[in-house]
Amino acid sequence: MIWPIDLAILTLVVVAAISALMVKDLLGASVLFGSYSFMMCLLWSIMGAVDVAFTEASVGAGVSTVLFVAAVFRTTRRTRD
């Protein structure tokens, strides 16, 4: 395991999480959440949890994001916070 990459991704994860919550557009939030999941998945594969990473890649970054986007399309993109 290469710790600088590890650390860099960890920082990015936090940044992605915060920005997903800060951005004032729900579609943007969904996409940022997708990137958050994807980076999480990278992190786990670095840690050797390949099965978990695989699942997160397909579920978290894949289906979850699609569901978010679908729900946002069925409701509204706008938000005040």
Partner: protein
């Protein structure tokens, strides 16, 4: 000081998971938009998964798939220290699934709420309820 630094470095995964969890928890409690809360909820869940995965990491070990599974030397001796602890991975597979299931239900509910009130902002919905 060096102690502190070494402690921070030695467990930085745990610190990050706590930070993420707090971000998620704060979002669930304090955010006003229902979908944002759902995002927060997912971050919260993922943070816990990160925690579990961090438990499983073992220095100098590899992924928990046995080499030479089949074939001529299928029955060579396996040493536990060579492989990462698989149990937390199993648990977290389940947790991820639970997470996506919760997400689906939550989004379905959010759509129902939106159909009723035409907004996803909690304060506006409460204002509408109070008016009635």
């Amino acid at each position: 000081m060096t102690d502190l630094i070494s402690m921070v470095v030695a467990k930085y995964n745990y610190w990050i998971y706590i930070t993420l969890m707090m971000i998620g928890l704060y979002a669930i409690i304090a955010k006003n938009n229902l979908v944002k809360k759902i995002v927060g909820m997912n971050i919260f869940q993922t943070a816990i998964i990160l925690f579990y995965v961090s438990i499983s990491v073992k220095k100098g070990a590899t992924i928990p798939i046995l080499e030479h599974g089949h074939g001529p030397d299928a029955h060579h001796v396996v040493h536990a220290v060579d492989y990462i602890n698989p149990l937390p991975h199993v648990l977290m597979l389940t947790a991820i699934v639970v997470g996506v299931a919760t997400l689906g239900v939550a989004l379905a509910l959010a759509i129902r709420v939106y159909n009723n009130y035409n907004t996803l902002e909690e304060d506006k919905i409460l204002a509408q309820i109070r008016e009635k």
